[in-house]
Symmetry: C2
Subunit: 493 residues, 2 copies
C-alpha cells in the first residue's frame, strides 16, 4: 500500500531530522570549539541524505497511487500535506539548488564580515547575486505551485500566506502604529523606573526559569533548559531543547527569553505524538509557531495578573533583597518599555511591526524586480523615517544590513513575525471570550484554560490546515488586525 510506504518514508525522515536537531542543539550548548568542523561535515551529510531520501523518484508514484487507496478523512489530510511538502522540496532543479546554496553561503559569510565594518558597497554585489537567484527561485516555485512569485516564497514558511490578504492588514496596522508610537512613548514618559540591583546569581535565575517553565506546563520528561549564545527552542517534540543566556547584572532579559521559548516548546510538546513522523503531524509553520511563543511572552506574561502571580516566585528565587519593594507595575514598566530604534530584534511589541512591514514591502519589490539592490539603502531610509522617524542612510549596518535573512536568501519569512503577534492577540481574545475569568486564573498561576484551548485548537491540529484556515477554525474568524490593535491600545494607550 502506497500510503504505508509514505509512512515508512516519514519514519526515515523523522530519524534523520531527529539526529540533525539534537546534533544542532548539542553544538550550541555542549560542543567543545574544536568539534565544529567535523560536526558541520556530519550535519551537512545528514542534510544531503535527507534530501536524497525525500526526492527519490518513486515517492511521486506513491503519492499518486495513495490517492486512489481507501483512506480515512484524517489520512487524506495527511496525504495532501505530504504532497504539499514534497512539491515544495522538489520544485527546484538540483543544479540550481547547488548554485544557490553556494551563492547564499558565500553571501552570508561576507555579510558577517562586512556588517561589522558597515561596508554596504562591498556587500551589495553579493546581495545582488542572492536576489537574482531568489527571483529565479520564486519564478520556479510560482510556476510549480500556481501562485504569485512572492506568495510562492512565503508558502515555504506559512502555507496559505498570500500578499494580497496580508498587505491590507499590514496597511491598517501601519496606519495605526505611525500615530500610536508617539502616543505610547508619551504615555510612558512619567512612569517611574525602579532600579535593578544585581548581581543575580545564574543558579538562582536558572531555578526561577525552571519554576516558570514548569508552571506554564513545560514537560521536563520531554525537554530541558540549557545555555547558548543565541537562545533557541530546538530538539524534537519528545525531547525539546530550550536555551537562554544569562547576565548577572540583570535578569529580565533572560527570563522574558525563557517565557518566549517556553511558548515555542509547549507547541512542540503538544503536537500529536502518533503523527510525529508525518508532515501533517509537524508544527504548522513560522507564523503559528511565533503566535505560540508570543502568546506566552506578550499575551500572558507582559500583564499585571501574570506578575501578580510571578513576583513572589521572583523574590523567592532571587532573594527578597534583590527586588526591594517591587510591585507588578515595576516589572511591567521595565518589560513593556517602548523605544524607537534601528534594530528589529531589539524592538518592543509596539514598534516591532513597523520593522516588519518595512521589510515586507521592500522584499516584495526585490522579488518582483521593482526594486534593485543598489536602491535599497535609500528606500530603507525613507521608510524608516516615515514609519519610525529614524535616519539610517549613513548607517547601513543598522539599516538594510542588520538581519541575516536576506544575505542568506530567505525572502518571505519576515511577515511571519508580525502575523504571529497578531494571531496571538486574536487567540487570546477567543480564549477570553470562552473563559471570562481568564485573568483571575492567570493571577493565580493557573494556565490550564489557556493550554487546554491551545492544545485543542492549535497544537493538536498540527499541519492539517493551512495557516489562515487553522486560525479561522481556532478563533472563528479570519485574521483581523483589530485584536492586536486593541491589545496595544489597552496596554500602551
Amino acid at each position: 500500500m502506497s500510503y504505508a510506504q509514505l509512512e515508512a518514508l516519514g519514519r526515515k525522515l523523522e530519524a534523520v531530522d531527529h539526529a540533525i536537531a539534537i546534533l544542532s542543539a548539542d553544538e550550541a550548548t555542549n560542543m567543545p570549539v574544536g568539534g565544529g568542523e567535523k560536526r558541520a561535515e556530519a550535519v551537512a551529510h545528514l542534510a544531503g541524505l535527507r534530501h536524497e531520501t525525500f526526492t527519490a523518484p518513486e515517492i511521486a508514484d506513491w503519492l499518486d497511487a495513495a490517492k486512489s487507496e481507501d483512506l480515512s478523512a484524517e489520512q487524506k489530510l495527511s496525504l495532501a500535506e505530504f504532497e504539499r511538502v514534497y512539491t515544495n522540496a522538489t520544485c527546484l532543479p538540483a543544479d540550481f539548488v547547488r548554485e544557490q546554496t553556494r551563492t547564499n553561503m558565500r553571501s552570508e559569510q561576507l555579510w558577517r564580515d562586512l556588517r561589522a565594518k558597515n561596508d554596504w558597497a562591498g556587500f551589495a554585489p553579493a546581495l545582488e547575486s542572492v536576489v537574482a537567484l531568489a527571483r529565479e527561485e520564486a519564478a520556479m516555485r510560482a510556476d510549480k505551485l500556481g501562485l504569485a512569485p512572492y506568495d510562492a516564497m512565503m508558502e515555504q514558511y506559512d502555507p496559505g500566506n498570500r500578499a494580497a490578504e496580508i498587505a491590507p492588514i499590514f496597511d491598517q496596522l501601519k496606519t495605526f502604529l505611525v500615530d500610536f508610537v508617539p502616543e505610547a512613548l508619551e504615555n510612558q514618559a512619567d512612569l517611574p523606573l525602579k532600579p535593578v540591583t544585581g548581581p543575580f546569581a545564574i543558579e538562582d535565575q536558572r531555578a526561577l526559569g525552571l519554576a516558570m517553565m514548569a508552571a506554564l506546563g513545560f514537560d521536563f520528561t520531554h525537554g530541558r533548559l540549557d545555555v547558548s549564545h543565541h537562545p533557541f527552542c530546538g530538539g524534537v517534540p519528545t525531547d525539546v531543547r530550550m536555551t537562554t543566556r544569562y547576565r548577572t547584572d540583570e535578569f529580565l532579559t533572560a527570563l522574558m527569553g525563557i517565557l518566549h521559548e517556553t511558548g515555542h516548546a509547549l507547541y512542540e510538546q503538544g503536537l500529536p505524538r502518533d503523527l510525529s513522523h508525518m508532515p501533517v503531524g509537524k508544527a504548522r509553520g513560522m507564523a503559528i509557531h511565533e503566535s505560540q511563543s508570543l502568546f506566552v511572552e506578550q499575551q500572558l506574561a507582559r500583564t499585571e495578573p501574570f506578575w501578580h502571580w510571578a513576583l513572589p516566585h521572583l523574590q523567592e528565587h532571587l532573594g527578597a533583597d534583590a527586588l526591594p519593594g517591587w510591585m507588578a507595575q515595576d516589572v511591567l514598566a521595565r518589560v513593556n518599555m517602548v523605544e524607537r530604534g534601528f534594530i528589529r530584534v531589539d524592538a518592543d511589541e509596539v514598534t516591532y511591526p513597523l520593522h516588519i512591514i518595512l521589510r515586507f514591502e521592500i522584499e516584495q519589490d526585490l522579488i518582483s524586480g521593482a526594486l534593485s539592490v543598489v536602491d535599497l539603502p535609500e528606500v530603507w531610509d525613507a521608510k524608516m523615517e516615515a514609519y519610525l522617524g529614524l535616519k539610517t542612510i549613513d548607517n547601513p549596518a543598522d539599516g538594510p544590513m542588520q538581519d541575516v535573512h536576506w544575505p542568506a536568501g530567505a525572502f518571505g519569512y519576515f511577515p511571519s513575525y508580525t502575523l504571529g503577534a497578531m494571531m496571538a492577540a486574536q487567540q487570546w481574545a477567543a480564549i477570553e471570550k470562552a473563559h471570562p475569568s481568564l485573568n483571575d486564573d492567570i493571577a493565580r498561576g493557573d494556565f490550564h484554560a489557556v493550554n487546554a484551548w491551545r492544545s485543542e485548537h492549535i497544537w493538536q491540529q498540527a499541519s492539517r490546515y493551512s495557516t489562515p484556515e487553522l486560525l479561522t477554525r481556532a478563533t472563528g474568524a479570519p485574521l483581523d488586525p483589530q485584536f492586536f490593535i486593541a491589545h496595544l491600545k489597552k496596554r500602551y494607550g
Copy 2:
C-alpha cells in the same frame, strides 16, 4: 579512481558514525527520560543506514579495482584495512544477522530481568539459543576469513588475536597468579587504612577531575567531561565525550574512573586527524584501547610518584581538612587494595586477570561445542574455586550470569581486557627503558615523555597494523606476560 570512491564512502560513514556517537553520549548525559523511545528509533535507523551504505555491492568492486591503482605505501595499508573491515562487516547473510539481532536482544532483556532474580534455570534456554547462533556465526566468519572459529570471533575486536598465541600467555599468568594472590593479600594485611572523611562536594570533585585530565594532556577544545550512570568515553576524536559518576561520601572511585577514561580519551584525541574518515585512521581495537586506559590508570596513576605529585592537587580541590595528614601511601593503600571477589568489574588488577582467563577458557569451549550451556554453572564454579577459592554454584547471578557480554552474544571480547593490562605494562617498560628518569617526570606531573612515546608508537599508528604487530613495533617484542608479572610483583610482592 576507486580509492577516491572509498575515501568518499569513508566520509559518509564517518558522518553517520559521528551522529550515532554524539546521540548516544547525549542520551546518557542529557536526554530527558521521555526522549528515549524516539532516540532509540533514530539511532536504530542510522545504524541500519550505516549498514546499507557499507554493504552496497559496488564496494567490493572498488576494493578490487583500487588494488591495481597506483597507491602509496600508506594508501596500501589503508586499502588493506578497509578491505578487512568490509569483509568483517559483510561476511554474514542479512537474514542471519536479523535473526541473531532479535535473539540476542531478547536474551539480553531477559538477562536484565532474571539476573536480578538469580534465575539461571529461567535464563539458560535463552542463552542456549544465543550460543547456537554464535557457533553458526563463528563458523561463517571462520570460513570467510580463513581462521579458526573462535579466532574469527576475536578478530572483530582485536585483529590478529589468535587463541593459540594467547592461551600459553594466559597459562603463564594464571600459574603465577594462583600463587601470587594469597601472597599479595598477606602483604597488604598490615597496611594501615586512613579513614576517608566526606562529604566531598561534587563541584570540588569535578574541578579536581578536570585538573587531572588537563595535566594528563586531555585537550578540552576537543572534548568534555559529563556525568552518566555508567562512566564511558565516547563521542568522536574531535569531540570526545567522557563521563564519570560522583558520590559524596567518597571520591576515589570517581577519580580513578576519570583517570581510566582519560586514557581512552587521549588515544582518541591522539589519532591521526587526516585519516579520521578511513578505517586505517581509527583506534586499533579493544585490547589496544584498554592498554591506553590501563596505562594511565594502572601504570601511571596507581604509583607513588604519581600521588606525590597529585596529592597537593587533591587537597587544593577537596580542602585541606578533607584528607587530614594523607601521604601518597595512604592513597595507594586504598586504590591498590587486593580482594578476592565474585564480580569481574569490581576486581583489582591482581585478581582481575583470573576472571578473564576463566571466561576465555569457557567461551572457547562454548563456541567449539565442547561445553554446553547447561554445564556452565558447574564449570564456572570449578574454575572459580581453583583460581580464586570462591564457590559460585548457588549464586549464578554473581557467577556466569554476571556480565552482559554472553547474554548479548559477544564472544571473543573478554581476552581484550587482560591483553590490554599486559600491553600497558609492556609499553611502560619500553618507555622507561627509553626515558630512565620517567618516575621523576611523573613525580613532577610531567607527562610529556609518556604521551610523546604513546603518540608516536600507538596513537598515530592507528589501524595500520594488526594488534600483535602494533605492540611488537611499539615495544620491540611480541606480547610477553613477564612485564605484567614483574609489575604486579613490584607493586604487591
